[in-house]
Amino acid sequence: MKDFARRMVGIDRRLIFLLVAVAVLFPLLRPFGLPIKISPEVNAVYDYIEALPERSVFLISFDFDPSSKPELEPQGIALLRHAFRKNLRIIGMTHWLTGTGLADSVFSKVAAEMGKERGKDYVFLGWSPGGGALIISLGQDLYKAFPSDYQKNPTHGMPVLEGVRNLRDVNYMVSLAAGGAGIEMWYVFGKDKYRFEMAGGSTGVIAPGLYPFLRSGQINGLIGGLQGAAEYETLIGQRGTATAGMDAQSATHFVIIVLVILCNVFYFVLRGEKGRSA
């Protein structure tokens, strides 16, 4: 037993990698479809969008790059589906240069699915450098910050932007963020100055760090990681990749829990042996 415990404590990492790979793959091939519980922070985002009148202005910032696509793209798709269903006017943009193509393809895909027209129902402004400076620029004059959209169409006179001069005219804003240039920056340079309501969507890693902002009301809701995306898909009644991914995430978490428990069992067996021999 002790030899076995000693071998298991120093097990080759690649075996652990293999177990994780199986845990991820198997549920994707044979989903088990468990119910998804909705958390209050995700519900808050849903309720706010649900209560917005038609043709309200909704700004969504895709502040991530392809590395965070698995977690944040499903959030973006679910939010866009909801917003299009509510006939909101959607303004899209990004602070991450390498995420521009990704964001534009999400917009095109969901808009085509919901029968929405670029320029009339939504506009994707694209990327512009500056981070906080860009937000301030948007807050003063959207048309100076983005004279044209991602497809080089002039923003002035676009039907979707009618009556929108700057960030003060935005009714709701969500930043889907993977790190540095994201939710905190939007709050500090955007909401604090221009007083629009905002929420955040983030990767699972940075979500716990955003709870202070949620608790103090600086953001009114938070969609955290793939679980948050799955909850939002459940709320809008349209399941997608996030819900499918939750089975894989469930299995992986359980594999890790079992491994951690086993590791502790072996550790205590060895510790007991050391104690006896001392």
Binding site: A21, K37, G101, V255
Partner: protein, 217 residues
């Protein structure tokens, strides 16, 4: 030369830092126009920083290839990839799609950039498992608390855990909203004070390391 390298940047930093710190308290349109213009300048300068990054990359790896230092082959691969992407990007005029059809630049983005970045990030899932197996041992009281909290949150954040032990969801929500928020707030306040202190030191010219060079700056 010393004036241009030291005194002038310090003077500009002091003036602009003080002016825009005070701007926060001045609602007058003149103040708002000032911040709008300066934001535009910052956006333009950020654009230049991109060029600077690319120029540095070209220079450093060119030297490595020239001197054939160990690992210069990787520098050559980097050069070929960079120049190839730039050439295709210019050829496609920076567009990823034209009239619904994907350009070469779009193809490179979708079939190299996206999978490569996704792959690097995905490695984290495997590394988390191996790190957890190695590190989550109940060596001490604190480690045991960490272990218990980690197991509960891992269960509470997935449907399978919520199904098998519904109480883990409530515990997870409490941990995230109460304990986690409290501790993060404490760290946030401390780190923010550090940032404010650094900003004040930079504005007042006490901290000069951003000018480059050593202690005597």
């Amino acid at each position: 030369m010393i004036f241009l390298k030291r005194q002038l940047p310090l003077a500009i930093t002091f003036f602009m830092g003080t002016a825009f710190a005070l701007q926060y308290y001045i609602p007058h349109p003149v103040s708002e126009d000032a911040i709008t213009n300066v934001s535009k300048w910052m956006q333009i300068i950020s654009g230049f920083a991109l060029l600077l990054g690319i120029a540095s990359l070209f220079h450093v790896h060119a030297v490595k290839i020239q001197r054939q230092v160990p690992g210069w082959g990787y520098s050559l691969v980097l050069y070929v990839a960079m120049l190839g992407t730039i050439a295709v990007g210019f050829w496609a005029h920076g567009e990823t799609k034209v009239n619904g059809a994907q350009t070469g630049f779009g193809w490179m983005y979708d079939y190299t950039m996206v999978p490569l970045q996704g792959t690097m990030f995905s490695i984290l899932a495997f590394f988390i498992a191996s790190a957890a197996y190695r590190a989550f041992r109940a060596r001490s009281r604190e480690a045991s608390v960490l272990l218990a909290a980690a197991v509960m949150v891992m269960m509470g954040r997935v449907p399978l855990g919520q199904f098998l032990a519904p109480w883990t969801w409530d515990v997870t929500q409490w941990l995230l909203n109460v304990l986690n928020s409290a501790v993060r707030r404490a760290i946030l306040i401390g780190v923010s004070m550090g940032s404010v202190a650094l900003s004040l030191k930079i504005i007042l010219g006490i901290e000069r390391s951003y000018l480059g060079g050593g202690k005597d700056q």
